[in-house]
């Protein structure tokens, strides 16, 4: 199993080698790979001059989590999941393309996969509403959780959404209801649930599939009650203050670990998961698998109790 590269130099070397390979391929096959090569070269440049991960600002991480080149759930499942059958539809109204799922084998382990999908090109991004699902997405998720419970399949959720879609129709069809019911459905799961934030963890739209026995987050992902822009628009009355809001919201992986909201931060290759997808996938796969294996030792009651206790304990207050 590949381990994530933690060495900047190694990453740079890999990237440069890839650029070279692409150039050779382009020359030999006549394919036009200019834009890919250009992007990679820019990335090499950025890495050469960028500060190490440790001193990235929170806002920089938010931008990294959102970058168009950031791997999507599909990038990971293509590498980690076999025998995946996508199951469509909420059996009520529609099939949502921003939240998808189905049974498959996570590094060999039978699981029910739920994942938010932002899309990988303009067309699919529009179709997937940039990862913002309508109520039907959450209702499909609940249906798949029913199947997971029925067949004893652990649930693996890959979270990557700016938030639930804020549209007229979404409101008409009960966006809030769908999220609330999905949270409740997860609380009631009889099987293990492992959730990993792999990009954006935007508010209730993320939490709807985030009530796991374990909640993990990739090194450069964020998870917050509100996006920095919206927070800035409300508190500073100026969405341009998003960087300040990002700092204040403490929404990065290390922050969340410190707040006790996640169990573990999943390391990414230096510079971000997009720079070495195989390594990023390997790290994600390994950490999720480890938690799945740990949880497989618990029975239904223990799983429900552990999950309930985990979330019941969250909050900061004093008592007089």
């Amino acid at each position: 199993m590949t381990t994530p590269s933690t060495d900047l130099k190694a990453t740079l070397k890999k990237l440069e080698a890839r650029v070279h390979d692409l150039e050779v391929t382009a020359r030999e096959t006549g394919q036009n790979l200019d834009s890919t090569i250009h992007t990679l070269r820019a990335e090499v440049e950025r890495l050469r001059t960028a500060p190490a991960n440790g001193v990235m600002t929170r806002w920089e991480r938010v931008q990294l989590a959102r970058a168009p080149g950031r791997p999507t759930a599909h990038d990971y499942t293509e590498r980690l999941v076999t025998d995946f059958t996508e199951l469509h539809g909420d059996r009520n109204f529609a099939d949502d393309h921003a939240l998808i799922g189905g049974p498959g084998r996570w590094q060999g382990r039978p699981v029910m996969l739920l994942m938010q999908q932002k899309g990988r090109d303009t067309k699919s991004r529009v179709r997937r509403r940039f990862g913002m699902s309508n109520p039907e997405g959450y209702r499909k998720a609940m249906r798949l959780m029913d199947l997971a419970d029925k067949f004893g399949l652990p649930v693996v959720c890959l979270i990557d959404t700016p938030g639930a879609y804020p549209g007229i129709e979404a409101e008409e069809r009960g966006q809030a209801w769908a999220i609330a019911e999905s949270i409740q459905r997860m609380v009631r799961l009889k099987v293990p649930a492992v959730c990993a934030v792999i990009g954006e963890g935007g508010s209730g739209g993320a939490l709807a599939i985030g009530v796991g026995n374990r909640v993990l987050i990739q090194e450069n992902a964020w998870y917050s009650v509100i996006s920095p822009e919206s927070c800035a628009a409300i508190l500073w009355r100026d969405s341009a203050q998003a960087p300040k809001a990002a700092e204040a919201l403490k929404l990065t992986a290390p922050d969340l670990l410190e707040l006790g909201i996640v169990e573990e931060v999943i390391p990414e290759p230096v510079g971000g998961a997009h720079l070495d997808l195989d390594a990023a996938a390997a790290a994600l796969g390994e950490v999720v698998s480890r938690h799945l294996d740990e949880l497989s030792l618990l029975n239904e009651q223990e799983l429900k109790a552990q999950r309930a206790a985990r979330f019941r304990a969250l909050g900061a207050f004093t008592e007089s």
């Binding site: 639930a164 804020p166 409101e171 008409e172 966006q175 609330a180 979330f311 019941r312 969250l314 900061a316």
Partner: protein
């Protein structure tokens, strides 16, 4: 920080922050001036246009519970500033201002009491406290109240009024959505009913969690209820919103709530409903409240 002040029944109080004289209040809907005495008698529903005025949490308790039956549970849990949050103002300063204004530690008031003789546990969100925003204290008090209801075996009634989760506690606020849901499971385990009453406004993370997983969801007429706020939606879709969008009546039509119930009928509605759901003998005492405009006979 003091516990909630003892609530003086049937003594009209000036709305906090209002600049109206003590004697009368201007209805925000029809703009008519109404004597506070009349307003109180109609449970702060405008006698002219039936607009339901927003209620401070203490008043809500008075409207719902049998006189003198309320025993407060909340008050001991106080907010902190886990993120050391600072925007144009420090979170701690915002908190103490809201605490001074409302006399409560946070945007929630819970306790036990009875409705037409039927014992209930009640949680009321206080919109006057920082827009009823849900942080750790709101989540904790609601959770404790639900668990208390399960423990003593009463139905649980929750009055929602909130702009959503409290930004200043970031992900910790978000987690209250899951935490309260966990706590509400204790009622399910005991087969006890949970009824929520959505009042103006109920939006964001509150709508997307405990407020809408109730067994029965009531709403007050005209209440704004939704996930995303109207402004956010308008920005997203760049078109104007339909008439009555996200109002209680709209949600009823779209199948999201069980009924829109005039405030003057809340006690009767709850007593009848909870009596059957808890399979109590049908010995409810006669209604004592002013009857609302009678609903159309079913056809």
């Amino acid at each position: 920080m003091a516990l909630d002040r003892f609530f003086r029944r049937r003594r009209p109080q000036q709305q906090a922050g209002s600049d109206m004289p003590d004697l009368w209040t201007q209805c925000p809907a029809c703009k008519e001036s109404v004597y506070n005495r009349d307003l109180e008698a109609s449970l702060w529903v405008c006698p002219k246009c039936s607009h339901h005025l927003r209620l401070e949490a203490g008043r809500r308790v008075e409207v719902l519970l049998d006189e003198g039956s309320f025993v407060q549970l909340s008050g001991r849990v106080h907010p902190t500033d886990p993120l050391n949050f600072q925007d144009t103002e420090a979170y701690v300063d915002r908190l103490s201002r809201a605490q001074k204004k409302t006399g409560r530690p946070d945007a929630i008031l819970t306790g036990t009491g009875s409705i037409l003789g039927l014992p209930v546990t009640l949680a009321v969100m206080d919109f006057a406290f920082s827009g009823g925003s849900m942080g750790s204290v709101v989540g904790e008090e609601i959770s404790r109240a639900a668990e208390h209801a399960a423990e003593i075996g009463t139905p649980f009634v929750l009055v929602a009024a909130s702009g959503g989760a409290r930004m200043q506690e970031s992900a910790l606020s978000l987690m209250q959505m899951a935490k309260t849901t966990v706590a509400l499971e204790s009622l399910t385990a005991r087969g006890l009913p949970y009824v929520s009453i959505l009042t103006d406004p109920t939006t964001g993370g509150v709508t997307a969690s405990f407020a809408t997983i109730a067994d029965v969801i009531m709403a007050e007429p005209g209440a704004l209820i939704g996930f995303a706020g109207p402004r956010v939606i308008q920005q997203t879709i760049r078109q104007s919103l339909p008439e009555g969008f996200q109002r209680a009546e709209f949600l009823l039509e779209h199948g999201m709530i069980d009924d829109v119930v005039d405030r003057r009928n809340h006690r009767n509605f709850l007593a009848g409903l909870l009596g059957v759901l808890t399979r109590r003998a049908p010995d409810a005492p006669p209604a004592e409240q002013p009857a609302p405009p009678s609903a159309e006979a079913p056809a």
